[in-house]
Symmetry: C2
Subunit: 546 residues, 2 copies
């Protein structure tokens, strides 16, 4: 009776359950929701980004009936070209999300592989045996949707990233009526966004930012530079509105921000009057108090435009006294140090900086506790699985579920790769499959290799010492003086005496050692370096016989 079982499998991301990819499977048919990437943590050295491990799908390629993308953020669309490389299934998305997908696919040369279907929020689409209601949700990007997935095993509500904003910038609140309708139909399972489960109360409306912007614009004596995410379309709208009110022209800089702005304008999700927009060149030639510049770099990325401005390393212009920088974003955990250092450097260069801690120039795009409880009470599910959060968030979200009356045994806190099954209306936590993530590191897509990471970690601490020996293949004796060099170890002027000492020691070992020569040299070098300068570089020995 396998075919009567609904299987749900969250995949990918480190700990953020099902954020990057969620798999729904029924009767030999599969629906994939989202295909996103995550940026590496600070200790994932050299890794470019991370995508879900979708090995599970590769064995069932032909069963994948569709891929739904809930909204246009990187953590939901960023792995789409990797997925399409393996799996040819039609994609379903709302107009703006589709527009952003097209930009993304074109950039990765994967445009031709994709079959894209536009769905309007409010529509219902049959994808294999899944009948999916797309319903509008507010989030920090327009045109986001949640899903009502009707399966023969019951109705599953998948919120996507959401907040319950009554006064969103695009005047399009979350579709409460649809949620109420679901509850009337009877909801088997709610899968709901846990990101802000530690935050009390309600997340403030995007609209509150207008006040902080208004104040900052009123006070700014010179140029205004607004830094935010490239995908924060509603923030672009708010900045444009403020610019129009204050008779300033608006220029965008940064490839991804400009691309997103263009597609959002073209599709009608962003209303900026033509005569308000200027190029950055024009902006830089206008009086300072008639200009607003919007750019990326709000996460302190050193190579972003704001990062380069903070270091005085941006080629188009420099920060100067009288500039006002509005830092319209919240640091993602792990980025705090870089963000604050950027703010300090901007202050140092003479800018006034307006940031979250001193004015409400950013709000979250995710529901807080009261909204999460509201969602639970609107949908009235039989079962509840918190998703889109680290373990700590999902635990808190589970407590909220208990508070609104969901029985403990009907709540499952699961990790990526954990299969959950529903049969005859009953939930069962089933087997665990590989559900982690894979690294994209250069051109290589691979599982995590702890030894490689450990080597990079060691290299980053005290660098590397390279010892090259040439031995006579007949006598086994040194044929030349050993060559020693280093990278990342010490300033080179400080190493000459140390290395000549090390050379003598090696020559001595080489004169008496045999099969264990390499090991003896490396051990001896390590000991000597630690004793002399208290460092532990990696030691690499190359022995060539001639």
């Amino acid at each position: 009776m396998k075919s009567k079982v609904l299987r749900i499998i969250p995949l990918g991301g480190f700990g953020e359950v099902g954020k990057n990819m969620m798999v729904y499977e029924f009767g030999g048919e599969i629906l994939v929701v989202d295909a996103g990437l995550m940026f590496p943590e600070n200790d994932m050295l050299g890794v470019d980004y991370i995508i879900p491990d979708f090995q599970y799908l590769l064995d069932k390629r032909s069963q994948v009936k569709g891929i739904i993308i809930t909204h246009g953020h990187e953590d939901h669309i960023g792995a789409i070209h990797h997925l399409l490389q393996e799996i040819q299934a039609p994609i379903y998305a709302t107009p703006l999300t589709r527009g952003l997908l097209e930009v993304k696919l074109a950039r990765n040369g994967a445009g031709s592989k994709a079959v894209l279907n536009t769905v309007q929020a409010g529509e219902t689409v049959q994808i294999g045996s899944f009948k999916v209601d797309f319903f509008h949700v507010c989030h920090s990007i327009p045109d986001g949707v949640g899903l009502g997935i009707e399966t023969p095993a019951g109705l599953v509500v998948h919120t996507g990233d959401f907040k319950l904003d009554h006064t969103p910038v695009d005047n399009w609140p979350t579709d409460y009526a649809k949620l109420a309708e679901f509850s009337k139909r009877g909801v088997l399972l709610l899968m709901s966004d846990s990101t802000n489960a530690e935050r009390h109360g309600w997340t403030p409306s995007e609209r509150v930012i207008d006040n902080a912007f208004e104040q900052a614009f009123r006070k700014a004596p010179g140029r205004i530079i607004v830094a935010s995410f490239a995908s924060l379309i509603s923030r672009m709208q708010q900045v444009s509105n403020a610019a129009v009110r204050h008779n300033r022209k608006l220029a965008f800089v940064g490839v991804s921000m400009v691309d997103n702005m263009k597609i959002a304008r073209k599709l009608g999700y962003l209303n900026i009057p033509d005569d308000s927009l200027v190029s950055i060149d024009q902006a830089l030639n206008m009086p300072d108090d008639e200009v607003v510049i919007m750019c990326t770099g709000s996460q302190g990325e050193p190579s972003s435009i704001l990062g380069r401005l903070a270091k005085g390393a941006y080629n188009l212009f420099d920060i100067k006294l009288g500039d006002t920088v509005i830092h319209s974003s919240h640091p993602i955990p792990g980025n705090e140090e870089k963000v604050y250092s950027t703010i300090n450097r901007l202050l140092q260069r003479g800018a006034d900086v307006v940031y979250e801690a001193v004015a409400q120039v950013h709000v979250s795009g995710h529901a807080s506790q009261e909204e999460q409880k509201m969602m639970l009470n609107l949908v009235k599910p039989k079962y509840f699985i918190p998703m889109h959060g680290e373990l700590r968030h999902m635990r808190q979200h589970a407590f909220l579920g208990l508070q609104v009356g969901i029985p403990e045994e009907n709540i499952a806190v699961v990790e990526n790769g954990q299969v959950i099954e529903f049969q005859d209306g009953v939930m069962r936590v089933a087997e665990r499959i590989p559900g982690g993530y894979v690294y994209v590191d250069g051109s290589v897509v691979s599982g995590m290799d702890p030894d490689l990471m450990r080597e990079r970690e060691l290299l980053s601490q005290d660098g590397v010492i390279i010892i090259s020996l040439v031995l006579d293949k007949d006598t086994g004796r040194l044929a030349a003086s050993p060559d020693i060099s280093s990278k990342g170890f010490m300033v080179s002027k400080d190493t000459s005496q140390l290395f000549s000492q090390l050379r003598s020691r090696i020559a001595e070992i080489a004169s008496r050692s045999d099969s264990s020569l390499q090991r003896d040299i490396e051990r001896s070098a390590r000991d000597m370096l630690y004793n002399e300068v208290r460092r532990r570089p990696m030691v690499v020995t190359s022995i060539i016989k001639v």
Copy 2:
């Protein structure tokens, strides 16, 4: 008339002005306040810790009349043995701070060099031409002091780290009477703690933690493990009080925490009944619900006890279902990712984790905005210099100064190394001296070397490729096949084909190249590796002629 000038110079730390060291200079006499260290930021690869650059003092060794340590935290005492290596001056500290200094000095073999003087809060000490009133301040360690420094140029109030806690755990509030007395005498300058200048309102009293602890203790079904800073003596007192109330025995683990606990008990700053204390071995053999274990690791440090418990790598015991971990600390910026990952891992292992976001199990030890304004209004200084903060904090603190009526021209926001002079009651921002920090990296104490950091950064990203060549010194031709190895580059099973390809290319270059051989090989290797696998490792070539 040089001698009539009071010079003030904040030193050390990255951006946190005067936090690690402040220099007061008058008439050829110098008073040093604090000698602390900072822990490196995430991008300071391989650096153990950072100390102030006190080059300025080395030229004036004999003029240093005394070193005052305001309290026993690492960022105020941690560089003392480096300072004493260069400068022999008597140290002044309150009893607990002295006790912690002695432990620190003994551990660094610098105990014999130190002349230590105990000063009680409330006492006045003449140090050269500086007459110093030590006044009690509340902070997250007992026995902290601020200073009223009477100089011939006027009275300077140096708050040290402080908060205005009306109900501190040791029942010893900040000495308001002394502050009022200063204002009566007339204060030339206030130098005040800016750490929390972005926080509205008042910092909650340490006492509020008791409620959260009480609730967590009441609910805990098994062992309770409390993680905090090794120096948080008042937290130890609160944990002990809760343990006594709930008939649990208390065990401390971790060298620094045990050392600090012992010295604080010995000096009467920590009141734990003898029969409440047990060893960790005893604790592990008692029923789970009769035990509290206190340890370090609240900043997510992987090698700390909590860090090892989270990874299942602690040798004394493992986390198990039923354990309650109370994470009693706030992540220092830059540590968030590690802290949250530790919490997630503890949850994964079955512990219930109580942390700041879900219960008030930690409060700050620093004054918030209302307290900072209170300090300004109590002291009524003519001039105001925010200290102990990054630039962003000091700017906010300066705004508070403006709000309480200090004229803008009487407020100076300065950076480390900026000399401020007072003459005839007038402030002047004078010259800038090297006032940054020096790295302690292994046994080497040195200025920052950007090239070395850059090499470590590159090594950490894509590792290193090592190419060794042996050339015949007569013909210049390869005497053996090139040897190629790598560290941190790729998993070694994936490199064999790539490296054999590279070997051929090198042999080809070696056959036709001459003086530019090394450069040609490295360039060619870099190009090939990038084209083939999109990585940019460092390439090191060693050429030996035989």
